[in-house]
């Protein structure tokens, strides 16, 4: 088990995150806001729903760092991709290989707002479609904050080891297929630890959940220009991008 000697490797770490505010501007952006005049009623309603979202959701996460398995990709005829040591997970594709180029270790993470978010969305779908739309936007903003919080823990961990991290890269970006969701969740034991499951079409449930892959580096990695849009499968249709905005700060 040579990989055990690699710096930064750590078994899955569970965490819950206390997040007591959601950026209102971000929620409005998700709602397609472009400076329209908002009535006081709508204003108050958005605040109320954001409050409900914060109250009902329990952001939690799990993250771990694995070593890189050798050989894979180096041999001729092997498909491009990155294999993890100590996990039955190969991240296929040229884009993720590029993302992890030069990384000495690989971090996996998953965060979720829990089943309470899913229940709230279903309840609102039946009772109040408008609040569902606002709740959905607020929850999107909140799950991003949860992912930030998990990433922050990882960055602190990496820092303590004298390592650097790059951006969060999610299944579905570029040519990294959604089919890696299952082995990725298994490598983290996220189904048991977080209650995050998959539909047959590899969508995460609770839907307000995320998974991501990051590289750990001995030298500060070059940051991508313009965030992840370049590799995002949704970029052609993205309503945020069409306004010159990003889904992540």
């Amino acid at each position: 088990m040579a990989d055990a000697q690699v710096r930064g490797i750590i078994p899955p770490q569970r965490a819950s995150y206390v997040i007591d505010a959601i950026d209102r501007g971000e929620v409005l952006r998700y709602l397609g806001y472009r400076g329209q005049a908002i009535t006081p009623e709508l204003d108050a309603r958005i605040d109320t729903v954001i409050g409900t979202c914060l109250e009902e959701c329990q952001p939690r996460g799990i993250w771990a760092v694995f070593g890189r398995a050798d050989a894979q990709g180096g041999e001729q005829g092997q498909p491009e991709g990155v294999a993890l040591a100590g996990a039955r997970l190969v991240l296929p594709g040229a884009d993720i290989a590029r993302h992890l180029d030069g990384a000495c270790a690989i971090a996996l993470m998953s965060v979720t707002l829990g089943m309470a978010s899913e229940r709230a969305l279903q309840r609102l779908a039946l009772t109040n479609p408008m609040d569902q739309v606002i709740f959905d936007a607020a929850a999107n903003a909140l799950v991003e904050r949860a992912a930030d919080a998990a990433e922050a823990q990882l960055v602190a961990h990496a820092h303590a080891q004298g390592l650097y991290t790059n951006d969060r890269y999610a299944p579905g970006y570029g040519d990294l297929p959604l089919t890696v969701q299952a082995p990725l969740l298994d490598a983290l034991d996220a189904r048991k630890a977080l209650g995050v499951t998959l539909t047959p079409s590899n969508m995460l449930v609770p839907s307000k959940s995320e998974t991501a892959v990051l590289g750990l580096f001995t030298q500060p990695p070059a940051r991508r220009e313009g965030g992840m849009c370049g590799v995002c499968a949704m970029s052609d249709f993205c309503t945020l991008r069409s306004q010159g905005l990003f889904c992540r700060r």
Partner: protein
């Protein structure tokens, strides 16, 4: 464990097998199941496999085939440490997770052989969750989950396991599916454990108390907690479970959290610390122990040593049991003497709007009733879908699902048809109440076994082949027969609710006292059972019914009534309940009473002062003026109803000479519900035609909203607020029964395609289309292509709308459209969703691309003709 004396059919009404008689391996195990002896399980399998170099994320069950010696070695270490039962390496060995890598049967065969080879006293076949989430949150159906578990259970028995341990469940419905699969397909004892978080709930919100109530009623032989947390955190959770468990309780905690030292993963809690916490749990009533993640043979040896020093468990004193029922998220518990409220309003009998809702399938009104009753203090909700012209079974299942989504109140499944009752309670995540059986032989034979098999509380009506006995003694006699049947079936008395049946006092004045006597008699002569009454019937045919109802309810509580089936929206009723809880001591220190009523005297006083709703009056006045003007009349006080006050200030009456219709239009644009509802109401009062209101006021306002959205002067929430406001107007028209002349503009089927669970966009479209007067058949999300086509064919629908949010689900959209073109060529299709654009829409074969909800309304107009009636 003998079956009831009554001769039962071999299958349930729905064709499921009743529980078989148990096959218990030996005397020790049988004493364990009786709670008279303790049992030591084993510790972690996964941790041991990892220590032997198994990679994280590997399918560990396959090692039973590839490395059987290694598996046996792990079991043997536990046996040597003192494990009486070892758990097979089959946690994830279901067809879904194995995904064709091996068959379920061969894994169980190998795993049980590995375990047996280690020489344990008992081999426990491990059944873990499917790994997929059940409906309604997920996409796996209860029946599909059941089939997966049944395959495992059958394999476990075939290859010689002594019991099944169903463990690490977070979803009560899934645990119930697994338990039923074992009970209906094997003779093996079933141990069921769930896993909880630091907040004391499973991921799906179930508490230890709810798990204990539901699983022990549903026929598990042992229940408990596994995995979750360290033993110090599990101890208080399992202590909460013990008082509600009717069967022995087990605990298998983790050895804390994984830590990495020099590249080796270890767990934070030592065997000594672990066993100290286990000692506390055993003292608290836990009788089956073992370990989960991180535990080792050392932990088990410690537990064995601990138990060796303890005397045999004392039989738990069965104090008078509380009445319990539960949804997945809420426990309702009534200690003897406490009173409860069952909301009666989701029942079409005598309720026009409810009938209409059930017939049309538009359940908004039903769900709002559920929420209102819950908020008003109902503890359970009665749910009845009994209308002759609808599919009662399908509607009942939908009601159970949707009401459960908006309220956590446990449900009382109300039907006269055993098949409907069974369908509803089988997959219910919790312990429901069945309403009802009665004293007729046929009813007892059909319904009592359902209540027993699925672990439900049961209402028994004191009516039999000869009708309702007029006397209290006669009703007691029927109650005795019912309780004899439930006793024989093994249903605890606390789960039996006798309904002495309220009769109208207007037809028989002695009825009131006879019912109260009957309640008293039943409580005295049949100790342990509870009573329930639908109270409102007492006043049938008399004026000012609330007074009679409330008085009768007070008397009934005094006579010993436990649960009232009533309208919790009646303040007078709830006042009686709250006051009674002071007298029976349920409201300790009168805290709740003081909190809710201290302010009441003052509020009552204020309420008596007539508040002048000037806004409403001004709208009404304007409406009248406008109508009068139209008719060329001059409005005089003589021509106006007396309500028209002379004192409305001129500034209120004429701001910018807006007509009342203008103001409704304006309120729709501003997305303000109440002014729209009030305005429409006033216009109708003043004689406006509903059709005209819709076509000349509401729809043009919506069109304007659409234009503004198009132009970007409105953003999405504004569009929706306006749609919501307009809906408030339509609701007024509908509630007044004024919609009779307003025909539907046509039917539209909507769905999010197979594989996709995003429904928000579709819900927005639905809201807008309904506003425009279309009848929307909403199939929901993750909709199978053929189901969509079948619906279109059945209702001969001319326009379908499909939504997809992921590139990966666009093929399902194409497939649905292809089937549709094939089988329902008349139906046009519009598509929408984040990943679509006009080119994609054309590629998948759609007739229209709807870039947003507004566009979908335009398309509907084009296809179905918005203007036509």
């Amino acid at each position: 464990m003998s079956d009831a004396a009554v001769s039962l059919p071999t299958t349930t009404p729905a064709g499921h097998r009743w529980t078989r008689s148990l096959r218990v391996a030996d005397e020790h195990l049988s004493r364990v199941l009786a709670g008279e002896e303790r049992l030591v399980f084993d510790g972690a399998m996964g941790t041991q496999l990892q220590a032997r170099g198994l990679a994280a994320g590997e399918t560990p069950e396959l090692l039973c085939l590839s490395n059987p010696d290694q598996i046996t070695e792990i079991h043997a270490a536990y046996v040597a440490a003192g494990s009486e039962a070892v758990t097979t390496n089959t946690f994830g060995a279901n067809r879904l997770k194995l995904a064709g890598q091996a068959s379920v049967d061969e894994i169980f065969a190998a795993a049980i052989a590995c375990a047996r080879a280690a020489g344990p006293r008992y081999v426990a076949a491990d059944i873990g969750p499917t790994g997929a989430l059940l409906e309604p949150m997920g996409t796996l159906s209860f029946d599909e989950a059941y089939e997966l578990f049944a395959e495992q259970a059958i394999a476990a028995e075939r290859h010689g396991a002594d019991l099944c341990v169903i463990e690490t469940f977070a979803d009560l419905a899934e645990a119930k599916a697994a338990l039923l699969a074992v009970r209906e397909n094997t003779s093996l004892p079933a141990f069921v454990t769930m896993t909880f978080g630091e907040d004391g709930r499973t991921f799906l919100g179930t508490t230890p108390e709810i798990a204990a109530v539901t699983l022990s009623a549903a026929g598990a032989q042992v229940i408990g907690i596994n995995c979750s947390l360290g033993p110090a955190d599990v101890a208080p959770l399992v202590a909460r479970m013990v008082p509600y468990a009717r069967v022995p309780v087990m605990a298998q905690a983790n050895a804390g959290l994984p830590e990495l030292h020099d590249g080796v993963t270890s767990y934070s809690i030592t065997p000594q610390e672990y066993c100290a916490a286990v000692g506390t749990m055993v003292e608290g009533g836990v009788s089956v122990v073992g370990g989960c993640c991180g535990t080792t043979p050392d932990h088990i040896a410690g537990e064995r040593a601990l138990l060796a020093e303890l005397p045999a468990p004392s039989a738990r004193a069965q104090a008078s049991q509380p009445f319990t029922c539960a949804s997945a998220q809420r426990l309702v518990e009534l200690r003897p003497g406490a009173v409860g409220v069952i909301g009666e309003r989701i029942n079409p009998t005598g309720k026009r709007r409810l009938k209409e809702a059930l017939r049309s399938g538009q359940l908004d009104y039903v769900l709002s009733e559920a929420i209102a009753q819950d908020e008003a203090g109902a503890q359970l909700l009665d749910v009845n879908a009994g209308l002759p012209e609808i599919d009662e079974r399908a509607m009942m299942l939908r009601l159970v699902r949707e009401v459960s989504a908006v309220s956590t109140c446990p449900l009382q499944v109300d039907s006269a048809t055993p098949e409907v009752i069974e369908a509803a309670v089988r997959a219910y995540p919790g312990k429901p109440v069945i309403n009802s059986c009665n004293g007729k032989e046929e009813s007892l034979r059909a319904v009592v076994p359902i209540a027993k098999h699925y672990g439900c509380a049961l209402v028994g009506l004191t009516i039999d082949e000869d009708g309702i006995p007029p006397t209290a003694e006669g009703r007691l006699a029927v109650a005795r027969r019912i309780v004899a049947a439930t006793d024989a079936a093994g249903i605890p008395r606390a789960d039996v609710l006798i309904d002495c049946l309220t009769m109208a006092v207007s037809t028989d004045q002695s009825a009131g006292l006879a019912i109260l006597d009957a309640v008293r008699l039943v409580k005295r002569e049949l100790p342990g059972v509870r009573t329930v009454l639908g109270v409102s019937n007492i006043s049938f045919g008399l004026p000012y019914r609330e007074l009679l109802n409330a008085t009768f309810l007070t008397a009934a509580f005094a006579a010993g009534l436990d649960l009232a089936i009533m309208n919790p929206l009646s303040q007078r009723f709830m006042d009686v309940v709250h006051a009674w809880r002071v007298f029976n001591g349920e409201d300790e220190h009168e805290d709740a009473y003081v909190r809710d009523y201290a302010d009441r005297a003052r509020r009552d006083q204020e309420a008596k002062r007539p508040a002048l709703d000037t806004a409403k009056l001004s709208v009404a006045l304007d409406a009248l003026n406008a109508l009068a003007a139209d008719a060329g009349m001059e409005l005089t006080t003589a021509a106006a109803p007396q309500a028209a006050p002379a004192s409305v200030s001129p500034t209120d009456a004429a701001p910018g000479a807006q007509t009342p219709a203008d103001r409704v239009r304006q309120a729709v644009l501003e997305g303000r519900k109440d002014p729209v509802a009030d305005g429409v109401s006033a216009l109708l009062d003043a004689g406006a035609e509903s059709l005209q209101l819709i076509d000349d006021v509401l729809i043009p306002a919506l069109d304007e909203v659409g234009k503004r959205f198009e132009a970007g002067t409105f953003f999405l929430p504004q569009l929706m607020a306006s749609a919501e406001a307009a809906k408030a107007g339509f609701d007024v028209i509908r509630a007044r029964g004024a919609s009779a002349g307003v025909a539907s503009k046509g039917r539209i089927a909507l769905a999010t395609v197979k594989g996709d669970i995003h429904d928000i966009g579709k819900n927005i479209v639905r809201m807008l289309l309904e506003n425009y007067g279309y009848e929307v058949v909403d199939l929901g999300r993750d909709v199978d292509p053929q189901d969509f086509v079948d619906t279109v064919v059945e209702h001969h629908i001319e326009l379908g709308g499909l939504s997809a949010l992921m590139t990966t689900t666009v093929p399902a959209m194409a497939q649905t459209i292809e089937l549709l073109h094939d089988q329902a060529p008349w139906c046009k299709v519009m598509v929408g969703g984040a990943v679509l654009n006009p080119e994609y829409a054309e590629m998948v074969g759609a007739d229209f691309y709807a870039k947003d909800a507004n566009e979908s309304a335009r398309i509907a107009g084009e296809v179905l003709g918005a203007g036509e009636q």
